[in-house]
C-alpha cells in the first residue's frame, strides 16, 4: 500500500487535478458557446419570439453536424486547429479545445430543450406586458428555465468526463490517460482500479451536488 502510494500517489493526484481542470474549463467554455447557440435555435424556431427559418436551419445544421462526429475522430481532425488555438495538441491544454467544440452543440440542444419545457403562455404574456425579445430572454427564458438548465448541466458535465477519459487515449491528460498508460500498457491492475473508483466517485459527487443545488434553486415544486 505504502509502496503503491509512493509510486503512483502523486501521478494519480495530478491526473485527478488535471481531470477536474479539464471538466471545469470545457464545461464552462462549452456553456459559453452552447447557451447562445441554444438561445438562437430556440428563438428562431417556428412560432417562437423571433422566428427566422434561415437562421434556425443554420443553427440546427451546426448542432447536428458536430454532434454526429464521434469525439475521437473530432480530436484527430481538429489537431492542427487545436495547435493553432492552444499552442499544443496534447496534454490537458490540447484536450480542452476539441472538448469545447464537441460539447457546445450537445449543450445547445440541452439548453434548447430546457427552454422548450417552459409554458409558451409565460413567454407570450411577457410579450403582452411589453417585454422586448432581449428582456424575454434575459428576464423570463433564462431565470424560469434555470433549474432545468442546471439539471442539464449535470448531464453535460458527466458526459464531458467520459470524453476526457477518451481523450486520454490520444495524448490527453487526466485519469483516463493514467488508466491507459499505467493500468493498461503496464498491466498495473491496482492503478486501473484506483482510477476507476475515483472516476465513479467523481461522477456520483457531481450528480449529488447538482441534485442538492437544483432542489434548493427550483421554486416550482
Amino acid at each position: 500500500m505504502a509502496e503503491f502510494i509512493a509510486e503512483y500517489g502523486l501521478i494519480i493526484l495530478v491526473a485527478l487535478k488535471d481531470t477536474l481542470v479539464m471538466v471545469v474549463l470545457s464545461t464552462g467554455f462549452g456553456y459559453l458557446l452552447g447557451i447562445p447557440l441554444g438561445i438562437v435555435a430556440y428563438v428562431t424556431d417556428h412560432g417562437s419570439i423571433s422566428e427566422n427559418a434561415a437562421v434556425n436551419a443554420v443553427a440546427g445544421w451546426i448542432i447536428n453536424i458536430v454532434r454526429s462526429i464521434p469525439f475521437i475522430i473530432l480530436i484527430l481532425f481538429l489537431i492542427p486547429y487545436t495547435r493553432f488555438v492552444m499552442g499544443t495538441a496534447s496534454g490537458t491544454r490540447g484536450v480542452i479545445f476539441p472538448l469545447v467544440i464537441s460539447a457546445a452543440p450537445f449543450i445547445a440542444r440541452m439548453v434548447e430543450s430546457s427552454f422548450n419545457e417552459l409554458d409558451i403562455g409565460v413567454i407570450e404574456s411577457a410579450k403582452a406586458m411589453g417585454a422586448t425579445n432581449l428582456q424575454i430572454i434575459w428576464k423570463v427564458l433564462l431565470p424560469e428555465s434555470f433549474p432545468s438548465l442546471l439539471r442539464g448541466m449535470a448531464i453535460a458535465t458527466i458526459t464531458i468526463i467520459g470524453y476526457i477519459a477518451m481523450a486520454g487515449m490520444v495524448g490527453g491528460g487526466g485519469l483516463g490517460a493514467v488508466a491507459i498508460n499505467y493500468g493498461y500498457y503496464r498491466y498495473e491492475r491496482p492503478v486501473m482500479n484506483v482510477t476507476m473508483v475515483l472516476t465513479i466517485l467523481l461522477v456520483q459527487l457531481i450528480q449529488v451536488a447538482f441534485n442538492i443545488i437544483v432542489r434548493r434553486v427550483d421554486k416550482n415544486r
Partner: protein
C-alpha cells in the same frame, strides 16, 4: 374606446387553404364597459382577444384604440401600447421561479430606469387590493388556482392600464372561487374605471358582471349589445341556448 371594424382573421391550413376564424366583426367597446365575449370552444374568442392585445395581426379590418389604428403601431409605440393594457389568461402564466411580489412588479421592471420605491408601493397596494398581502414572498407553486389568478390580475394592473383583457379567467376555477374573482374584476372596474373585455364560454360569467355581450359562433358575431337589449331582441338560436341553458 375600442372600435373594431370589419375584423377578419384567417389562418393558413397545412394544405394551403385558408381557415376563416373571424369574419367581418364590428363592435365598439366604450370606456368603463365590462364586455363579455361568449361562444363555444373554437368560435374564435381567443383569436379576437389576441388581435386586440396585438399578439397577432388581422387578415383585414381595423382595431382602433383611443383613436390609434393598431396596425400602424411599430417598435416603441407597440411596446407602449402593450403597457397600456393588462392581460389575464386562463392558465395564469405566472413566473414560477419568482415570488408573488416579484411577479406583480415584473411589468414595471420592463421600463428602463423605473422608480423602484414607487414600484414597491404600487405592488403593496395591488397585493392589498387582491387580498394577497400575506402571500407576497410565497412562490406561485404554493398557491391555489384562485390565488394564482389574483396574482395575475394584480400583475395586469401594475402598469395602471385603462383596459384589461381576460381570456377565460375563471374557466379553471371552482364556482366559489369564480365568484370571488369576478367580484374582484367588478371592483376594479367600478373603483378604478378600468375597461374589461372578458372572454368566456359560461353565461353565468356574463350575467354576473358584464354590461354588454358579444356572441360569437363559428367566427361570426351573431348577437351584440347591452345585455338587456340582447335579451329583449330576437335572439340568435345560439344566444338563446346559451342564455336558456342557465335557467334549467
Amino acid at each position: 374606446m375600442i372600435e373594431i371594424a370589419h375584423l377578419t382573421k384567417e389562418f393558413d391550413n397545412p394544405d394551403k387553404t385558408k381557415l376563416g376564424v373571424l369574419r367581418d366583426i364590428s363592435l365598439t367597446v366604450e370606456d368603463g364597459d365590462i364586455y363579455g365575449i361568449i361562444g363555444m370552444s373554437g368560435a374564435g374568442k381567443s383569436t379576437m382577444l389576441r388581435l386586440i392585445g396585438l399578439l397577432d395581426t388581422p387578415t383585414s379590418g381595423t382595431i382602433t384604440v383611443e383613436g390609434k389604428d393598431l396596425s400602424t403601431l411599430a417598435g416603441k409605440e407597440k411596446i407602449d401600447y402593450y403597457k397600456t393594457i393588462g392581460t389575464v389568461f386562463q392558465g395564469y402564466n405566472l413566473l414560477m421561479q419568482k415570488t408573488v411580489a416579484q411577479n406583480v412588479i415584473f411589468p414595471l421592471t420592463l421600463s428602463r430606469g423605473y422608480d423602484k420605491k414607487a414600484a414597491r408601493e404600487r405592488v403593496a397596494q395591488l397585493l392589498e387590493l387582491t387580498g394577497l398581502i400575506e402571500k407576497a414572498d410565497v412562490y406561485p407553486s404554493q398557491l391555489s388556482g384562485g390565488q394564482k389568478q389574483r396574482v395575475a390580475i394584480a400583475r395586469a394592473l401594475a402598469t395602471d392600464p385603462k383596459l384589461i383583457l381576460c381570456d377565460e379567467p375563471t374557466s379553471a376555477l371552482d364556482s366559489l372561487t369564480t365568484q370571488s374573482i369576478l367580484k374582484l374584476l367588478e371592483d376594479i372596474n367600478h373603483r378604478m374605471g378600468v375597461t374589461i373585455i372578458i372572454i368566456t364560454h359560461e353565461i353565468a360569467v356574463v350575467k354576473k358582471i358584464c354590461n354588454k355581450v358579444a356572441v360569437l359562433e363559428g367566427g361570426v358575431l351573431v348577437d351584440n349589445g347591452p345585455i338587456h337589449q340582447v335579451l329583449d331582441s330576437e335572439m340568435h338560436p345560439v344566444t338563446r341556448s346559451l342564455f336558456g341553458r342557465e335557467e334549467d
